[in-house]
């Protein structure tokens, strides 16, 4: 008897759900002219760094093109073809005609889809990487510029002359940042040394913090990072050291206020808004976009009050020359950390030269977390 009772009860409840649902149902608005843009993220939109910066660009795009563009997002997608393809196909299934991948490891899956012929009517945009196709463009920024400036600040602020750098992979993009930071620091403080720990992941809150703690133990008093979360920044706060973030301006976070100096940051909407507009207008030509500080695509976040007046004055001066194009970050003489001359005096690297860097400059000591 009891069993039958349970069954009946269950059915009654199901019907109760059905009943209360009828009120809440609203047909989905399917605006005819709205272009759906699908974003694929590696982390969460509140990671305090990389993905949050991406998502702020996404929201700025939606705000700037209200009524024309609707953005859909998939968070926490692994850098595997299965995960990326699933996310992209599900977004296309939802009506997205533009797919935007935002992590280097998404490139293989997306270029494969773009060139397969099955998705010829979809426009693909990819943040970072080097692939191009008829319906696939990539975009990135000259992060070496604000990185260099953040190095100037670190070089001025350190008293131990040891700077700590939590890095993701020993990949070109990361090494460009390490080198630019080091050159900036050395430009104001020739005795400075940069200690790097590679954690082998873009996004790993625990290991990011652990690596920073190790660097602090080794005597580093300024911590910066090429990794996605606030882990290194928290470690610096705990140790009473300085921190320079990355991707996103966290200066308003009260928990980081005591240690935060600045961060090299992205303004993705500067690229996204005109590009999506050109896709809508049918004038889009896939390109390899490389935004600079002069373009406003990247910048050094406003300096906090923790930064000394002397450092502020120095940064303002150098920033001005970079934006005007008078100062190139990678200008010789540049030696690698085995002492070999890589860029001769008077020469400077252009975009292609920078992106073929396969060394760390003199003054950098790198190790892996494991």
């Amino acid at each position: 008897m009891k069993k039958i009772l349970v069954v009946i009860l269950a059915i009654v409840m199901v019907f109760a759900f059905a009943a209360c649902s009828s009120g809440g149902d609203e047909p989905e608005a399917s605006g005819g002219d709205v272009v759906k843009v699908g974003f694929i993220y590696i982390g969460t939109t509140n990671d305090g760094g990389y993905t949050q910066a991406q998502h702020e660009g996404t929201m700025a795009l939606e705000a700037a093109m209200e009524g024309q563009v609707e953005c859909l997002i998939v968070e926490e997608v692994a850098e595997d073809k299965k995960a990326v393809t699933d996310a992209a196909v599900n977004l296309i299934d939802q009506g997205c005609s533009v797919i935007i991948g935002t992590s280097y490891g998404f490139q293989d899956a997306l270029i494969e889809m773009a060139t397969s012929g099955d998705y010829a009517d979809i426009s693909f945009l990819h943040f970072s990487g080097n692939e191009l196709a008829d319906n696939y463009g990539n975009y990135f920024g000259a992060m070496e510029e604000p990185r260099y400036l953040s190095g100037v600040i670190a070089g001025k602020m350190t008293t131990t002359n040891k700077l700590g750098y939590v890095a993701a992979h020993p990949y070109t993009e990361v090494n460009i940042g390490i080198n630019a930071f080091t050159l900036g620091a050395q430009s104001v403080n020739p005795n400075v040394e940069v200690d790097v720990i590679y954690i082998g992941s873009w996004y790993d809150p625990a290991n990011e913090k652990l690596a920073a703690e190790r660097l602090l133990e080794q005597g580093c008093d300024v911590i910066t990072q090429h990794a996605d979360t606030t882990g290194p920044q928290i470690a610096a706060v705990d140790a009473g050291a300085w921190t320079i973030g990355y991707n996103l301006d966290n200066s308003s976070n009260p928990e980081l206020a005591s240690a935060y100096l600045t961060a090299p940051i992205w303004h993705h909407e500067v690229f996204l808004v005109p590009t999506i507009q050109s896709i809508i207008d049918g004038t889009w030509v896939p390109e390899a976009y490389y935004g600079t500080m002069a373009d406003g695509y990247i910048s050094l976040a406003p300096l906090t009050d923790n930064v000394s007046e002397e450092a502020k004055a120095e940064v303002d001066k150098v920033q001005d020359t970079i934006i005007k194009g008078e100062k190139k970050v990678f200008t010789g003489p540049i030696y690698d950390n085995s002492g070999t001359l890589k860029v001769a005096e008077g020469e400077s690297l252009d975009h292609d030269g920078i992106w073929s860097i396969d060394y760390l400059v003199q003054g950098v000591k790198a190790s892996n977390i494991n």
Binding site: V6, A10, F17, K81, K82, T85, H169
Partner: protein, 357 residues
């Protein structure tokens, strides 16, 4: 006063009764999930509808669903063979990874072989590598009676770290400028498609039939079941128990190894340390849900893949956070697996003292 409920093994539960219990479980899972969704302020009927629509609504969604089902079905078959013998193979993940490694080894060494031959060799290498990885704990169990649960679990980490080492070290693609990724396979090493999905779905159906026949119609399959039910009976009947353990685990690991080959060849087109994507663990759940029956497993895995694809769909279409989609899956499983307990065991609450009227 004691309030401990008495739990006793059930005997002679009729088919009708167990079907009723399962039906109740499914209903309760729907109700329970509905309550959870309402807690999150979501409309349960709309979410359930979206899960079904999201997994079956368009050809794209069906293809996506089948793509998720293929590795799950074959992993589940592998787990079933081991579990039938009550050999708790928690090492599916590692066997999948080693299978993918075996396939990749062949794909990188002989990239220019004709496609059918290359794929066949990759499959053989994958099955052999997966089987070998399962045979190590099997041999220890057969010879020394070690605990296979811990042993197979630990073998996962060795396999994953081994492939991670290759990915970050000797097998890293130098063309990637330092990014840890292995080179893509040659086109000949990629499984072809049939009706929009990689041919793995045909392999999965064939293997389902194979495992069903193997377990229920062959002498070895019967022996595996007997060893699982009662090793004493098996010994008394003169069965060679170590040999049976070895054969069963070779089949189990070989099947998991094939999953690695299919995923590496058809989906990733390269080897990655994350290739197993949890299939080896999920397969334990689906194997139980299927009551270790290969044919039933095929359907259970398809339903499971619908849940996975449906969960991805509701995140996009209804803006449901990823965590809630996970809670939905977990709640459904809790009820359905929970019902198995009540089918196997009788639970009697302690009797209250009778009130005198």
């Amino acid at each position: 006063m004691k309030f401990t409920p008495a739990i006793t093994q059930r005997t002679g539960l009729s088919t009708r009764q167990s079907v009723t219990y399962r039906a109740i479980a499914i209903l309760l899972s729907v109700v329970g999930t509905g309550l959870v969704l309402m807690l999150f302020g979501l409309n349960p009927v709309r979410v359930f509808g979206a899960i079904i629509e999201g997994s079956m609504g368009t050809p794209i969604r069906i293809h996506q669903m089948i793509n998720s089902a293929i590795p799950l079905v074959i992993s589940t078959l592998g787990i079933i063979v081991a579990f039938k013998m009550k050999f708790w193979n928690i090492g599916g993940e590692g066997q999948i990874v080693m299978g993918a490694f075996g396939a990749a080894f062949v794909a990188y060494r002989l990239p220019d072989l004709p496609q059918p031959l290359l794929l066949l060799l990759m499959a053989v290498a994958a099955a052999a590598a997966g089987a070998l990885w399962a045979l190590i704990p099997a041999a220890f169990k057969a010879k020394m009676g070690t605990n296979e649960t811990i042993f197979t679990l630990m073998m996962n980490y060795i396999a994953i770290l081994f492939v991670t080492f290759l990915q970050y070290g000797p097998w890293k693609d130098p063309a990637r400028a330092g990014f840890p990724r292995m080179p893509d396979f040659s086109p000949n090493a990629v499984l072809p498609n049939l009706f929009g999905n990689n041919i793995g779905w045909v392999i999965a159906m064939i293997l389902t039939a194979f495992v069903y026949v193997f377990l229920s119609r062959t002498k070895k399959g019967y022996e595996i079941t007997v060893v699982g039910e009662s090793p004493e009976t098996a010994r008394y009947a003169g069965m060679n128990i170590p040999a049976i353990i070895i054969v069963a685990m070779a089949v189990s690991g070989g099947l998991c190894g094939l999953v690695g080959m299919i995923q590496a060849s058809a989906i990733e087109k390269t080897l990655t340390a994350t290739i197993s994507a949890g299939y080896g663990f999920t397969a334990i759940i689906t194997a139980w849900l299927a009551r270790l029956n290969a044919i039933v497993a095929l359907f259970v895995c398809v339903v499971f893949a619908m849940l996975v694809q449906g969960a991805a769909f509701i995140q996009l279409s209804l803006g449901v956070p990823a965590a809630v989609a996970g809670v939905v899956q977990g709640t459904i499983l809790l009820f359905i697996l929970g019902s198995e307990f009540f089918i196997q065991f009788k639970v009697r609450l302690p009797e209250r003292r009778r009130r005198t009227v």
